[in-house]
């Protein structure tokens, strides 16, 4: 009998350790932002100030927006302007703000079989990879990076398909790892590149085109659509992300001496 008592006591203790004391909000964000480690750097001051715990769910932009539409998260931090605008105009999101930007780059094998090294014109880069039918690894997960890549292909008038075009359906780092193992071309954001630089063999081949800029925006989920969301804290978080103090932190965030994200009001 005593054994049963001890076991059930332990069980109750385990169950009771569930109740969280502080307030929490859920933020869906992209794998590229999350894996860069930036959020672990800029969010703790806010968490401390407002005595809140931010639960970060790291998924692609497409999924993050879906989570927002369904009201499964309170706030999203994503990078796909068109989809963001649709999210707001459909009434799911409010108070969209620019947060930061960086750019996409193209990596490829050391010997560069499609000879794209140094090219500035992204259309030409994609055309050469397309013509060479050399392995290209795509996210294929409807993330911000994936949307961007797809839009670049269609802008160049190309329809990538075939055994050379691989869609991983995974996050940015995982996709980069697959590209690296397959010695393939891949498009990725600069933050993920810098973060993984020492761990891959692929070489940076093309960059520096205006078409490749990558803007991140934050949007609160509309409380009129989903009354249960924590709108007050979401707004406070947006205020923090766009505050001078946080912007300075973002600018100062570096990995191996390279800056990952830039803050600048565009438009």
């Amino acid at each position: 009998m005593r054994k049963i008592f001890v076991v059930s006591l332990g069980f109750i203790l385990l169950l009771s350790s569930y109740s969280a004391a502080e307030e929490t909000i859920k933020m869906a964000t992209t794998t590229s932002t999350y894996e860069s480690g930036l959020l672990d750097y800029i969010l703790p001051p806010f968490e401390e100030k407002c005595n809140v715990k931010i639960h970060i769910i790291s998924v692609g932009t497409g999924k993050a927006i879906k989570l927002g539409e369904n009201g499964d998260v309170d706030i999203i931090l994503v990078h796909a302007r068109k989809a963001e605008d649709k999210f707001v105009s459909d009434g799911y999101g409010v108070n969209r703000q620019d947060v930061m930007y960086n750019d996409f780059i193209i990596l490829g094998p050391q010997n560069d079989p499609a000879t794209i090294s140094g090219l500035k014109d992204i259309n030409e880069v994609l055309r050469r990879i397309y013509n060479a039918k050399y392995t290209f690894v795509s996210r294929g997960d409807d993330s911000g990076t994936d949307k961007k890549e797809k839009s670049l292909w269609s802008k160049a008038g190309l329809n990538p398909a075939g055994s050379w075009y691989l869609e991983t359906g995974q996050g940015m780092s995982a996709t980069l790892r697959i590209a690296d193992e397959k010695d393939a071309y891949v498009m990725l954001d600069r933050a993920t590149y810098l973060f993984n630089k020492g761990k891959i063999r692929l070489k940076k081949l093309a960059e520096g085109n205006k078409d490749l800029l990558n803007f991140y925006g934050v949007i609160a989920v509309n409380p009129h659509k989903h009354p249960h969301v924590n709108y007050k804290l979401s707004v406070a978080l947006i205020e923090w992300l766009t505050s001078g103090e946080c912007r300075e932190m973002i600018s100062k965030y570096t990995i191996n001496g390279s800056q990952l994200f830039y803050v600048d009001s565009r438009e």
Binding site: F11, E35, H55, S58, G71, Q170, R177, N196
Partner: protein, 236 residues
């Protein structure tokens, strides 16, 4: 080869320095698996005893269903529970998606058929004569049932441990329903997946070792139980 050795060295450092994040991850895995298996045992074992003991129409069908559910794919459970718990789903108003509770629900569904099914097997495999003898010696049906349970206890323990082993090592449910939130729902298996995708091996290896050690411990207990139950049968 270097990165594996390097990863191993760092892994040992993480384990022996009792890194806070590492401990929290292990604790999260243990907590969810213990709670979900515990709840599944509370419901599954009584069910299993009834199904194993009583004869009724449709019994064989239920047993077949239970056996099928034992190999339920974790991602299917993840998908089903996700669609129910999402704010758009029927249970959305509880706001349970991406919480520990959601993981426990998913893991409960995973371990329940195993617990229930193996309990049925344990009860059925008992010698019917034990109960009949007890009854013929003047025991009432309740006492007869208690005698039966005493005989089956090792098999039931084994069922609980098998259920625990399943949920402790699964990733589908944890990833889809927990969301791999750092410091909250991140557990051993989701961390290993994340760290591997990031190309970081040390924390993954450290956690892999913990997972292996716990699986090893579970199997030792399992083997011990089986030996005990054999001894018991000899005496009985």
């Amino acid at each position: 080869m270097d990165y594996i050795i390097d990863g191993l060295a760092k892994a040992f450092k993480i384990i022996f320095s009792l890194d806070k994040e590492f401990l929290l991850i292990v604790f999260t895995s243990l907590k969810c698996a213990l709670v979900s298996t515990g709840l599944a045992a509370l419901v599954g074992v009584p069910f299993g005893i009834v199904i194993g003991h009583k004869k009724f129409i449709g019994r064989q069908f239920i047993i077949t269903v239970l056996n099928t559910l034992m190999s339920l794919p974790t991602v299917v459970v993840g998908l089903m529970v996700y669609s129910f718990l999402s704010r758009q789903g029927p249970l959305g108003s509880f706001g349970l998606l991406y919480t520990l509770t959601a993981m426990v629900i998913g893991q409960f569904i995973l371990s329940f058929p195993i617990l229930c099914g193996l309990t049925v097997t344990a009860v059925r495999s008992l010698d019917r004569k034990v109960e009949l003898t007890t009854l013929s010696l003047g025991a009432n049906p309740i006492q007869g049932l208690i005698m039966l349970l005493k005989e089956a206890r090792f098999g039931i323990f084994a069922a609980v441990i098998a259920g625990f082993g399943r949920v402790f090592a699964e990733i589908g449910v944890s990833m889809m329903l927990g969301g791999n939130i750092r410091g909250y729902t991140r557990n051993i298996t989701t961390t290993i997946a994340l760290e591997t995708s990031k190309g970081e091996f040390s924390l993954g290896i450290a956690l892999g070792m913990v997972l292996l050690m716990i699986a090893f411990a579970i199997n030792i207990i399992f083997a011990q139980l089986q030996r005990n139950s054999k001894n018991c049968l000899c005496i009985g």
